[in-house]
């Protein structure tokens, strides 16, 4: 596992650092726009109240894969914060921050322990279920209402949405050429 951050560690190279910054900002921007567009779509209320695809959650997962643990947490934090500012629902931070962070923590743990035996889609699936469960827990605490009845529905929604977004993230990382990740171009003989 790569060390998260240390103050004195020298940057690998100027180019790598810039690329990291650009990719990080790009992921946050894409997550914000995608969540914003998604919020305009009709909600999938049939499955569970408040259930949505959560396409924006691809960003932390991709950040975890191509950047690293620390950057994935940064993407999540920025996504929550900027998302709250963009949509104007600052109280939404109460729900999005704990669930996003915990889901990511679980994903990090899974990625660095059992990845390859379970796929990226599976990691995302479990993360989504954790996300929904934490959100339900927070909602129960905030409203003081026992919302446990929604758990099976939200877990099912998380299962489907998580698998979908996970597959998407997997194919994005798989299909993008190495040059995007800063792979060194082979010198032409």
């Amino acid at each position: 596992m790569k060390p998260l951050y240390s103050c004195n560690a020298p940057a690998q190279s100027g180019a790598t650092d810039t690329r990291r910054l650009v990719v990080l900002a790009f992921l946050v921007a894409v997550a914000l726009v995608v969540s914003f567009i998604e919020s305009m779509l009709p909600p999938a209320i049939l499955l569970a109240p408040g259930a949505k695809l959560g396409l924006g959650n691809i960003a932390p997962l991709i950040a975890l894969i191509i950047l690293g643990v620390g950057d994935a947490f940064i993407v999540t934090a920025l996504k929550c914060l900027l998302g709250a500012i963009v949509t104007g629902g600052v109280s939404g931070l109460m729900y999005s921050v704990p669930s996003g962070m915990l889901a990511l923590a679980v994903e990090v743990l899974l990625f660095y322990t059992v990845f390859d035996r379970i796929s990226v889609a599976m990691i995302s699936l479990i993360g989504a279920i954790v996300f929904n469960c934490v959100q339900l827990g927070v909602a129960s605490l905030v409203t003081g209402v026992n919302l446990l009845t929604l758990l099976p529905w939200l877990a099912t929604a998380g299962l489907l949405a998580g698998a979908f977004t996970g597959l998407l993230a997997y194919y994005i990382v798989k299909r993008l050429p190495y040059s995007v990740y800063g792979g060194v171009r082979r010198s032409r003989d």
Binding site: I65, M122, L148, T149, L151
Partner: protein, 126 residues
């Protein structure tokens, strides 16, 4: 850029065998929790009078004839007829069917109560 991770993901499969097992386990867990949460709790009807106390199942149809009162249990509903008191409050209570509801006849000291797990406790907003 974490090149190792990218390489690992690029070389990984979209699905693995373990995935299918875990999804099956999660699906079963969701099913069981849904069953636990949504099952109808078994309700009982307790009839108590000064010299009488018995508990019946709400699901079994029966008629309990007491000295001053007749209790009907039918189709998950309970009501009282043939009360020989003056006020007839118990008869006018009507039909009860949910956990926690009761019919009381004060003149004869008869209490009919639907007990067991209350099915109201799982309702949202309560």
């Amino acid at each position: 850029m974490n090149f190792d991770n990218v390489k690992k993901v690029k070389c990984s499969k979209a699905f693995t065998v373990l995935d299918i097992i875990i999804v099956a386990v999660i699906a079963v867990a969701i099913g069981v929790s849904a069953w636990l949460i949504y099952r109808k709790p078994a309700l009982t009807v307790t009839v108590t009078a000064p010299d009488y106390a018995r508990t019946f199942s709400l699901d079994e149809d029966r008629t309990v004839v007491l000295e001053h009162i007749t209790v009907h249990i039918e189709n998950g509903k309970v009501w009282v007829t043939d009360a020989d008191c003056a006020d007839k409050v118990c008869e006018r209570t009507g039909v009860i069917s949910r956990g926690g509801q009761s019919i009381v006849c004060l003149p004869h000291g008869v209490v009919i109560r639907i007990g067991g797990e209350s099915d109201l406790q799982w309702e949202l907003g309560r």
